[in-house]
Symmetry: C2
């Protein structure tokens, strides 16, 4: 006799919305660290975040239904941090430090909701903007990306039958586990999940995190996803992002102030955080320019996260700089997190082994590698290069130069001005896959 | 809020037995065809079937708990054909023929139960014998093998955690689907599932059959498993097995009668069945001997199933024989089913393409290929060469010579006598994997 759980069946068949983001903790940890700094030091700054699809051949507004996108964004706006989540943020220690979030900030956070959004369809793409106080718009980055990416996967999978889906996930699991088996060959590897924003889906990211926990043991040091870190008793990983120097730069009154912006931001960060949270992200206006002009105290920071230059030359450049400053690179930390996959992790690991401490942030190729997994070839499941970036601050345009001109953002004439201030040395054009 | 189906949970946690064989239809179709012939022509013959583990390095009685084995065998003995099953056997057409089973046989079958078994542990192996009327003991072959094989998989998987199991099945699914994608490249392939006896588990065989149905379309012509054929509306596939000539030979009063036994059995078969059911299994006492002495009318049969010689030489030998008898091989059918996997299927298919009709019975390497799938290497999931063979008939020892001496069975002195009667030409020693 077949038994049917009637309640489940009726519930399944009268499904209204399958929310993608079900918790405000389903975001990257660095957003909370940055948020506390923004809340403390820049709470009157107005900042616009905008969705940018760098894979322009993919017409997002043709793959994703606008009404579904609105439903998901609206659902995310209905969320507040739950009591359990607030207690965990207050009571957990992060990077070995307890009470990293001050009580006044947490009291403010308890009332937080995601602000409004502006959504338009233009030429087959979505124009999705978030205007308002930086303290609010910054929090849209990760949920907006996760929502758009998961709606895209759902749309790609809609025509597939039950069996094709079964094969799809079986292959994706096999593929990931094969990667895990390669990574476990690397002694003392330190690797974390950085895959929230580009994930195939929330549940798939959760499976990937479980796989790393199961397969890598201590080599898996945590997840950038705060919700998954809480649920799986993992370390929450992450420090800061480009938006800090970008807004600081945009608000600089003149070129001299602009020139010093990347370092002022680090000083601000130091007032709030220490130890392993002192990680420099050097490439907003070119790593070479950053290092050339960096004050000596920057070399006292724990490490660097090169983000838009190829890992080996970038690491070499930073190591040479540490040496030139009289610091011992073997005591320093390099964090590699830009489009890494097993091949590049292995290569980078072997290259720097014994010369510097290293850790890897594994993102899109961890949580969204379904290439070749569908029974019928399906390009719509391939990840795209989708970002959500600051586009203006208090009405001023915001610019990123990056080590790779294809990752630059901002109005053309402002990019020219920034290039004059920072120079273009070391910037090399390279294809952006994810 | 998490919801729990209380009834399911309590049921799962007070589990008593997870039966492996849940229906008497969970057997190979040829058993039912042979049973009707045995019931009609040999109902007084007493035949013993015995389990033989040809992979002697695997100590079955150390891997499988005797009490669990008894529970499963006892459960199978509690089964009768259900009303729905009897109606389907009577109403379905098989090999294009309706009412293949006569009403009197079905009336007898409706009361059928599996007979007693005798089980002992000897030197780390099980001695499992079924004594009694051939009409009853013959029906133990497939359930006994399926039960022992599935208990062995269960035992191998017992130490694995939830995650390891997830990876195991994901990889097995990926592996099978990769095979399916290779097979779908072969135009006009005809392939059926022959994997009941050696399957990893019933549910896995069901998944494999669904995969072939989904992936191969018309190239997948059916399953030897009657239950799966019924449930999935597939053709039930299979004709006859070695037990027929083996018992006929064992009961031959003298060497002259023994010499004619393989052909007498075919004559008996013809009285009941025709058309595509006229498939010769030529190797019980060596294919070369069989062909040399075969009367001309054997060449009128639809096809041959070479079973213990390598497929290409065996097919060539049979094609040459058809030609020598003035028959057109391109109108004849060769069925390959001995330890086939994708490589040998492709090779054999290409070799005979256009020269003879072909079909493939895919067994162990379809339904039990978990080699390399477990996260921690686990040889206990590799398939073994386990058979359940006639060992005596009316008190006489029963002999099989086969094209491969390693597949021979019977007492040494009887094998000697049979070799004198049939000769040993064409018999070649080859390793038996599955």
């Amino acid at each position: 006799m077949a038994t049917t759980d009637l309640a489940s069946r009726v519930y399944d068949h009268t499904w209204k919305l399958d929310p993608i983001v079900r918790s405000l903790l389903d975001t990257d940890f660095y957003k909370l660290l940055m948020l506390q700094m923004i809340w403390r030091l820049h709470r009157d700054t107005k900042v616009t975040f905008s969705l940018i699809n760098r894979t322009s051949r993919v017409k997002l507004a043709e793959e994703i239904d606008e009404a579904e996108l609105r439903d998901q964004l609206d659902y995310a706006r209905s969320l507040t941090f739950t009591k359990k989540e607030m207690i965990w943020l207050a009571g957990n220690s992060f990077y070995g430090r307890s009470q990293i979030f001050e009580p006044e900030f947490l009291a403010w956070l308890a009332k937080f909701r995601l602000p409004e959004y502006e959504l338009k369809r233009v030429d087959g793409q979505f124009e999705l903007d978030f205007h308002g106080p930086w303290t609010h718009t910054t929090m849209w980055e990760i949920p907006a990306l996760a929502i758009v990416n998961e709606l895209r996967s759902r749309s790609a999978m809609r025509p597939m039958g039950r069996f094709a889906l079964d094969v799809l996930y079986a292959r994706a699991k096999s593929k990931l586990w094969d990667k895990v088996e390669r990574l476990r060959q690397l002694p003392n590897l330190r690797l974390s999940d950085f895959g929230t924003r580009r994930r195939h889906s929330f549940l798939w990211q959760r499976w990937c995190v479980e796989a790393l926990k199961e397969g890598l043991g201590d080599a898996f040091i945590g997840s950038s996803n705060v919700l998954l870190a809480m649920d799986a008793d993992l370390e929450a990983i992450g420090t800061n992002a480009h938006e800090l120097p970008m807004v600081e730069a945009a608000l600089s009154p003149d070129d001299a102030a602009l020139h010093g912006a990347p370092y002022r931001v680090l000083r601000e960060w130091e007032t709030l955080y220490g130890g392993n949270l002192l990680i420099v992200l050097p490439d907003a206006y070119g790593t070479t320019a950053f290092l050339k002009n960096a004050p000596d105290w920057v070399a006292d920071w724990t490490g660097f996260r090169p983000d838009s230059a190829p890992p080996i030359p970038a690491g070499e450049e930073i190591i040479a700089w540490w040496r030139s400053k009289g610091r011992d690179p073997s005591e320093k930390l390099l964090i590699f997190s830009d489009g890494m996959d097993v091949d590049t992790i292995e290569e980078t690991y072997r290259h720097f082994s014994g010369r510097a401490r290293m850790s890897f942030g594994w993102g899109t190729n961890l949580t969204n590698d379904f290439r070749g997994c569908a029974p019928e070839p399906c390009g719509a499941l391939d990840p795209i290069s989708l970002v959500c970036k600051v586009s203006s601050a208090n009405g001023h345009p915001v610019v990123k130069l990056s080590d790779n001109p294809r990752k630059a953002s901002g109005p053309e004439e402002e990019i020219e001005r920034y290039l004059k201030v920072f120079g273009s040395k070391g910037r090399i054009d390279r294809e952006v896959f994810v």
